[in-house]
Structures are given as structure tokens and as C-alpha cells.
Amino acid sequence: MHYHWNWSIFFSRVPSGETTYLTWLLVGLQWTVALSLVSWITALVIGTVLGVFRTTPNRWLRGFATGYVAIFRNIPLLVQLFIWYFVIPELVPQRLGDWFKQTNPLAQEFIASWLCLGLFTAARVTEQVRAGINSLGPGQKGAGLAMGLSLPQTYRYVLLPMAFRIILPPLTSEFLNTIKNSAVATTVGLVELSRQAQQLVDYTAQPYEAFIAVTALYLVLNGLVMFFMHVLERRTRVPGYMVSR
């Protein structure tokens, strides 16, 4: 094989001369992390609300949440992203659409990717929250109500605190999925990690180094999230409730 390995490529300057290729990678990492985090927070908030909706006695709320999950789970992520990026700006009131199209491209890419990934992941979180609440059995809810708590109070003080501690492991894998799914934003041009890998292939003659470095960065991100979630899991474990592995 006549390939010349050159790991110092990351310290050489980019064509415009301002920075090094390493900075490009770090910029990509920064956008991947930023997009994953804001999408994850969005997904947690909306997913919790809809997950509660799915378990309430109110038929309309249940129907709404069920419909939401059906739509967002049955359309591919990439199609959803393109709809947010190309379609929604045409369909919203003209002033909002015009504002979106005139704002700077990076903001457009980021907002569309954020809405897409956040709402997509929310559907998955909804299902986890629902499963968590349902796993508690009717006794907990009954006990809360019998104590004189209102239904919202029962959710706030009894059901949700337990449910979240139970579903922490599946939520961890959803967070990891969010990080992986953020790579889809490359298709609308957001300069996240996987886009930077392609850029480095285009600009340098060192495709192997670029791809190995980016893959390693994804692995490190994964490892970090798993580590912190594991700590959180141990801290919040319900004593005696379940045998964790």
C-alpha cells in the first residue's frame, strides 16, 4: 500500500490560512455537541409533557400525543429535516418565512436541524416516559389521589420522580442516538463533525486520518455520555426497587 500516513496534517494551515485543520475538527465537534444538547433538552421537555398526556384520563390529550408519536416516528429523520428546512418556511406566515430565509445560512441550518432533531427525539422520549409511568402500576397513582393530591400534583410528586429514575437507562441510549442522529444535519450543510470529515477529505490528501479522527471523536463523545449517565444512574437508583444487572 502506497499511502503516506501524515498525522501532522491536523496542525497544518487551511487554504485560507487563518486556522489549522484541527480547529476545523473542533468547530465540527462544537456544533455536534451544541445541536445534540439543545435538541436533547427540547426532546426531554416535550417528551415529558406528551408522555404524561398519553397516560392521562383525558381522551383528547391521549389522542393528540398518540398522533404526534405516530407522525414523528413513521417519517424518516432525513425527510423530516428537509421538510423543516425547505417546506415549513414556505408554509408559515410570510413574514416568519422571509425572516428565516434572510437570516444567515448557519442559523438557518442550525434552527432547522434543532427543530427536526428535538421534535423527532421527543416522540421517542414520549414513549419512554409513558412506559415508565405505566410500569408503576395503578397503585401509586391511586395512593397519591387518596392522599388528597390533585392529578397534576400526583404526577409532579409521585409518578414522574419514580418514572424518570426507572427509565434513565433507555433515556441514556436515546441521548446517544441524538448525538448520532445529529450527523444527519450534514445534509443541509451544517458544519458538524461528519461534514468536517468530508471537508478534510476534499481539502487534504489524507482521508484516512480525517475519518479515523472523526470516528474517534464520536466514540469519545459516546464514552463520556455513558460515563456520566452511569454515575447519574447510580446516584438516583431507587433503593430496593429493581436489581440493576
Binding site: 407522525i71 425527510v79 425547505f86 414556505e90 445534509t187 470529515a197
Partner: protein, 223 residues
């Protein structure tokens, strides 16, 4: 207000059908190869040969920790060049073969986790009984454990396959004209991207909802 104009879709149906064939080709290749390779990985991971188990675990964890987009790009940009520089030969249009390989190897990692759980759900006594009858390891797996395991995991394998079907749209990153890619191109060509994207989304929605419904019914019948 935006004015919809759906007139470019009927004329584009032949192209879209051709794209849909590519989508299905990737989906079914990845299902078949993925399940076979995934079964081997699961068996390897549960084997008593430590090195084999470690290698299988490494493979599965590696593929499960990197984005599918990266895997597709690896097999499109990097692996073919490496093979070419090793064995020589000209590179032709490798988009479809590289996508088939990428999806098969990627899906195998996900299938193997489902299959591993399925194998572990078969009570130990079943394997012991088969050994007591004088069966070899291969016979125990093939005739006793795997048939029962597969029965348990059919719904999960099908759900994973629906996810795979949705994920095939990502071949967009290597410019392969699958159903979605074709819809997007037709939309750009005719300046009707809004209609074509909504149409593509609706088609995926109908297919995936119907398949999920069937899987759910299957699950209820099995339970």
C-alpha cells in the same frame, strides 16, 4: 399563502418507482445479510472462546457508537480506495455496492443485539437437555436454541427492519438516487420541492404506519 401545485408528481412516477426499487434493494439486502451476519455475531459473542466473544463485542459496540452517516461515508470514500490500492483495478460507480455493504454490516450490529437477547431468553434447560441427548454445539444451536429464540424476537427484528427502511433515505449523502433522493431531485428540477418532499414524507408515513400496525398485531397474537 403558498399555492400548491402537484402536477409534477404524476409525470415523475416512473423515476420515483425506479428510486423505490433501489430503496427496497438496500432494505432487503441489509435485512437478509444483516440477520445472517448478526446471528453469527450473536453466537460468537455468547461463545466460550474469549477472543471470539471479545471481537464480536468490539464489532457490535463500534458500529453502534458511530452515526450511520459516517458508516456510509466510510464505505464510500475510504474502504474502496484502500481495496483499490491493495489490489489495483479501476473504481467504477460504487455507490450502490458500497451502500449495500455499509447497511448490511451496520444493521448486523443492531440485529445481533436483538438476537443475543433472544438466545439468552431461551431457558438454559433447553440447551442442557439437548446436550444430554448427545447433540453437538452446532446441533444444539441450530435445532434447539435458535428456532425458539427467533420465534421470540420476530417482532423486534421486524421493528428494527422498519427503522432500517427509514434509514435508507440517508444514502442521500453519497448521491444515490433512492426513493427519497429521486423525489428531492425531481422537486429541485421542477421548482416543486415543497410538494415532492411532502409527497415523499406521506409515502414513508403510510408504509411505516401500516408495517408497524402489522407488527403490533403479530405481537399481540404471539403474546
Amino acid at each position: 399563502m403558498y399555492e400548491f401545485d402537484w402536477s409534477s408528481i404524476p409525470g415523475a412516477l416512473p423515476y420515483l418507482a425506479h428510486g423505490a426499487i433501489i430503496t427496497l434493494e438496500i432494505t432487503f439486502t441489509a435485512i437478509v445479510v444483516g440477520i445472517i451476519w448478526g446471528t453469527l455475531l450473536a453466537v460468537a459473542r455468547l461463545s466460550s472462546i474469549t477472543i471470539l466473544a471479545r471481537l464480536a463485542a468490539l464489532y457490535v459496540n463500534l458500529f453502534r457508537s458511530i452515526p450511520l452517516v459516517m458508516v456510509i461515508l466510510w464505505f464510500f470514500l475510504i474502504v474502496p480506495q484502500a481495496i483499490q490500492s491493495l489490489f489495483g483495478g479501476a473504481i467504477q460507480d460504487i455507490r450502490l455496492p458500497s451502500a449495500l455493504v455499509a447497511y448490511s454490516l451496520f444493521q448486523a450490529a443492531y440485529y445481533s443485539e436483538i438476537i443475543r437477547a433472544g438466545i439468552q431468553s431461551v431457558p438454559k434447560g433447553q440447551a442442557s437437555a439437548a446436550y444430554a441427548l448427545g447433540m453437538s454445539y452446532g446441533q444444539v444451536m441450530r435445532l434447539v436454541v435458535l428456532p425458539q429464540a427467533f420465534r421470540n424476537m420476530v417482532p423486534l427484528l421486524l421493528t428494527q427492519s422498519i427503522i432500517l427502511f427509514q434509514d435508507t433515505a440517508l444514502v442521500y449523502v453519497i448521491g444515490l438516487g433512492d426513493f427519497f433522493g429521486t423525489a428531492q431531485r425531481v422537486g429541485e428540477r421542477d421548482g416543486r420541492i415543497v410538494e415532492l418532499l411532502l409527497f415523499a414524507g406521506a409515502v414513508y408515513f403510510v408504509i411505516c404506519s401500516a408495517s408497524s400496525y402489522v407488527v403490533k398485531r403479530l405481537q399481540e397474537r404471539a403474546a
